[in-house]
Point group: C2
Chain length 193, copies 2
Amino acid sequence: MRTKHEIGTRERIVRAMSRLMQRQGYEATGLKQISQEAQATLGSVYHFFPGGKTELTIEAVRHGDREFADHLRAALERVDDPGQAIIACADDLAEGLRESGWLDGCPITTTALESAGRVPDIQRATEEAFANWRGLVSDKLRRSGFPEDVAGDLAHTVINTLEGAEMSAQVSQSETPLRLAGRHLARLVDSYR
Amino acid sequence: MRTKHEIGTRERIVRAMSRLMQRQGYEATGLKQISQEAQATLGSVYHFFPGGKTELTIEAVRHGDREFADHLRAALERVDDPGQAIIACADDLAEGLRESGWLDGCPITTTALESAGRVPDIQRATEEAFANWRGLVSDKLRRSGFPEDVAGDLAHTVINTLEGAEMSAQVSQSETPLRLAGRHLARLVDSYR
DNA sequence: ACACGACTAGAACGAACGCTCTACCCAATA
DNA sequence: TATTGGGTAGAGCGTTCGTTCTAGTCGTGT
């Protein structure tokens, strides 16, 4: 029996796919490359994911969803003031991006855009991820005393602005877009107090 | 000799590539599909773009750049108040997205993410496009009396938020993210008056 | 000792990829 | 009329794609 704490083949495959999707997107990532990166074989990939690339991609999107949500939650809980907490989120994203040599952006954005209107099952998985992240921000704002409707609306823009700024930061290889996004979002949130 | 006003083969190829990049991204678009869509042949594609897919993609990014800039400029000039003008931009994007059945998002975002860190020449072209659009917003704000540094900073967030909201709107097939982005950006801009 | 299911291994399929190549058409010049 | 060259046409190159398939390994329960 496999030890509970070592990483099984299935999990290695999902993580490899998630990482490759983050760095090069869905279309550019081949199953051969995935199996190599995961130190698995093509047979294993199709054993664990009979639905092929689509099924694996959906699982990888969910993995990226959880991963990103964990980071977001940690940053939001680290700082009490909601505006400053959002700045902390932006700073974390900037740091991760810079440290990876501007390679590790949002784990699912590229895939979300590539699948939109073309691969409904994957599109749905990415949509759920964004909704999930929005929920974290919305909860934080409500706990800080914001009315529910204001919190929900702001959560949309907070997540979308962070997404846009992360994309821009990656393309321009600069932390500026994310730092400005944090500052501006904090100001926007504060203006509703 | 070809009449000046009819569309030449080269231009048809660039437009087809730009449209396909907008709808399905760089990686998912094959040269065979491009030449079919453009009613041209593979020979013509390589005649006009000896550098192959990369050279054609760069030209298509520049085409999308100009196209998007034209829309942005039109919306910004249509309304005098800068906050309301940004709302007009968001509304235009939402309308275009809905009318295309949620297919026509930003013409270059998908390609920008796919090429970031992998195809430097294309990455550079997308970076220039974003800088160009940012310049339009920055100019509008400065003409409305904003100091240069504030205008430049705000322009970053305005473009990035619109980009993020457009992505989100496309994935969720809803105008809400763009409408909220417009409202919030207007409020943010007004807060600097 | 045996059988079984979980998992690994990789050859091979048809299709599509980016790209190269040769042949050809045809209007503009000399 | 002869020549030239921009542009068109499509067969075919080697490679890789997602997927299928058969064979084999290995640990476990009986």
